[in-house]
Symmetry: C2
Subunit: 148 residues, 2 copies
């Protein structure tokens, strides 16, 4: 399989969530930087670091195959030359489950690094976000804030 090059952090994020929804382990791992200092925190989990721990955790999560639709909401993004940080809500919707029994949204902080092979993920930190989402001043549309 050829390794994709992500020209922007947003491209890497799109591929990350596409792989997550489809339970595509190889697609998912192609988003991560080839670096032992990558960090991944799943909801209610401890910190995983390095390629082996991160791959193993997604392999377990993906073992049952796709069962939920995933939408990404309320992105806040800030981008430097080398690093980009996105904060998002992940909303999983299970088709056969009633609205009131759907899982709580997840809040995630995603950090991307510009590498020689395009933008890659170096940190994914996700945790359950109970209660109503913020009635927030956070910008949810438009291009990310870019630092110069």
């Amino acid at each position: 399989m050829s390794v994709p090059i992500f020209p922007t952090a947003q491209d890497a994020e799109n591929a990350f969530y596409d792989s997550l929804e489809r339970c595509d382990l190889e697609g998912m791992m192609a988003v991560w930087a080839e670096d032992e200092e990558i960090v991944c925190v799943h909801p209610a989990g401890t910190r995983l670091s390095g390629q082996d721990q991160v791959r193993e955790s997604w392999a377990k999560m993906f073992a049952a195959g796709p069962r939920a639709r995933l939408t990404i909401e309320q992105q806040v993004a800030i981008s430097g030359m080398m690093l980009a940080v996105h904060s998002v809500f992940e909303r999983f919707t299970i088709p056969e489950v009633k609205a009131e029994a759907q899982p709580a949204p997840i809040v995630a902080t995603n950090v991307y690094l510009r590498t020689a092979a395009g933008w890659r993920m170096i940190v994914h930190h996700a945790s359950p976000a109970p209660g109503q989402p913020e009635a927030a001043p956070a910008r949810t549309k438009g291009p990310p804030k870019t630092l110069h």
Copy 2:
């Protein structure tokens, strides 16, 4: 009160955790960027954004005053010109409580932005990290990885 200038992201992080341990609201808020796009996720909480929501949340947490010692462990740090990302474990120790009844460690992702007024925090995402910490390849000593 004069506003401190933090020459490095690590200086901002030191002030953040010093304020957190001492329950010092003004010290804490001096670490945050003066930006409506700041994001704060407390353990088991939803996303807060903007100065007002973030200040109010720390004011509530600090209302009872300091009662725990705080140590920061296993930092993984990556720094660009404008953004720096630190992943740490926060370990709170309550003096009058037995070792086995101490709170679980917290894993936190902290993001700092280089502003005209020094380095400031723009994201703090914290969540409980149950179970044993990673037996990790993550570097826990030495200077942060700096991007060029």
